[in-house]
Subunit: 302 residues, 2 copies
């Protein structure tokens, strides 16, 4: 599981900071999460292969989280994309995009499939044989979801010396990986656990931006390996957090602690602060394993 931060600042794009966007690489998927203005350029800068993006998740319809989407959709067309593109987003975004395409007398050569969200409780919005994605309802000024990405349990690993010793025909390897006991070449039933080792523990990632301090996310994100939680403010501006429905670094840490997550990544910094290290310092008074998002930063959780 790898995470590339394309942008992690709030409000407006500037010469040296980008609004929210990130790419999560999990079990061969490349999921794009949020898409502020300039995301397509940051994708190029960070060498994200455009063709590998098949699912885009938009948390909410504030501009710093989606103004780059219409341009990315247009660029996909210019690159003669043919693969379907799925967009998971609050209701309304489809109208914005289709209106702009209509005015430009434009179209996409590929299927553009909107999954418009309205539920206020967590729901499964994507699933295949390897990964599940759930919404995380957040508490912001407009309808907002975070997203929980969970690997499914993978296959067991063959303990090859033991498999060979047990005289098992290669035709049964698939069954072994799936956890079944099988008969060996002599007709003897072999206990799966004696010739295989457990699958890798499934990884999970929760993205929570933008939100006021909101304990109702805790049961949804409980025990995730990595939590990205917004921290727009430091303590000195703590008053602004509830007013603007954002969080402080300490509040993000408190959520991380109560949800017992592995690692907390902070982001969505207000551009008023020069020293990001203060976010880490304040968060670590509550929760130890804190990392700072940064534009162009790449985290590897394998």
């Amino acid at each position: 599981m790898k995470l590339t931060i394309l942008g992690c600042y709030s409000a407006t794009p500037r010469t040296d900071t980008n609004p929210t966007s990130q790419v999560l690489e999990i079990n061969n998927h490349m999921f794009l999460i949020d898409c502020g203005e300039g995301t397509q350029v940051e994708m190029r800068r960070n060498k994200i292969k455009f063709a590998r993006i098949k699912h885009i998740f938009i948390s909410h319809l504030h501009g710093d989280h989606f103004f780059g989407l219409v341009g990315l959709i247009s660029t996909f067309r210019l690159l003669t994309r043919e693969t379907d593109l799925h967009i998971y987003c609050p209701k309304g975004l489809k109208e914005v995009i289709t209106l702009q395409m209509k005015l430009a007398d434009s179209w996409t050569n590929y299927q553009l499939i909107f999954h418009e969200l309205t539920s206020k409780t967590s729901e499964l919005i994507f699933e295949d044989d390897k990964v599940e994605v759930y919404t995380i309802p957040l508490d912001h000024r407009v309808y907002t979801n975070g997203f929980l990405f969970k690997e499914k349990e993978g296959e067991r690993h063959l303990d090859m010396p033991a498999v060979i010793e047990a005289n098992i025909d290669m035709a049964y390897y698939r069954k072994l990986k799936q956890g079944f006991d099988v008969e060996n070449k002599d007709g003897v039933l072999i206990d799966n656990k004696k010739v295989t080792t457990p699958p890798n523990p499934p990884k999970s990632y929760a993205f929570c931006s933008d939100t006021a301090y909101n304990e109702s996310v805790i049961p949804i994100i409980k025990g995730v390996d990595v939590l990205y939680h917004e921290s727009t403010f430091l303590e000195q501006h703590a008053k602004l957090a509830p007013q603007t429905k954002h969080s402080t670094a300490k509040e993000a840490a408190l959520i991380a602690k109560k949800a017992n997550v592995g690692t907390l990544i902070l982001g969505h910094y207000s551009t008023r602060y020069d020293n990001l290290q203060d976010f880490k310092t304040e968060a670590q008074t509550i929760f130890k394993s804190v990392k700072l998002a940064g534009d162009g930063k790449r985290f590897n959780f394998d």
Copy 2:
């Protein structure tokens, strides 16, 4: 008269090229012309004062000419702008912008005034005591206007030694600048031309992007000091120009020659070309005074 090119490439923003946007400084106005994705960042990079932009001209509703507008409008709000903002654009853009503001539950603290254009003949769309702006109907795949910016004739200059010699009271200086004959202190009528020199010749700038080769613009732009004309293609791809309703460098030069303009600036290059010098070389086979637009380039025509 100064022109700052924020972006001059066609199609999609990339790490090293920006879509169309430019700022024309003329007679104390700062006019923003087109607003592709990333324009607000390029404005910062080129130190364009946001507060000085009061009029934005959008040629047409292809994304590379307006996808940056909604973000700029939002940023103006975050910067607590209070000054009116006028947007001259094809019909439809107001709906796009207001829909996005509605979805974001957002607003502007300033008056946002759309002047939606539908006319297929040139019309006066802005005028004050110093400058006039006219549309230049272009021939593109969707409804498109270029824009002609014309200084009005300024005041005559006082020839001070002559004025003093003629014994004219200071109270009449204003009248002299306006071209009137005035009586001197001895009651003698003084011929204006004997004590003043002509005003600076008014400057003019025509912006023509995007368009197929289109001679109908010639009478509108006749004799302008500076013409920015799109040149998406070189001769080797001349076939694509009429198909896509764009121009070649040679076609831009032919318009410049027939309209007898002072200087031609080329831009809106297809990103397929590495060597921009070829655009100049091809254009100069037809018209000598050619300059190449470049992102971040500043032209001074004073």
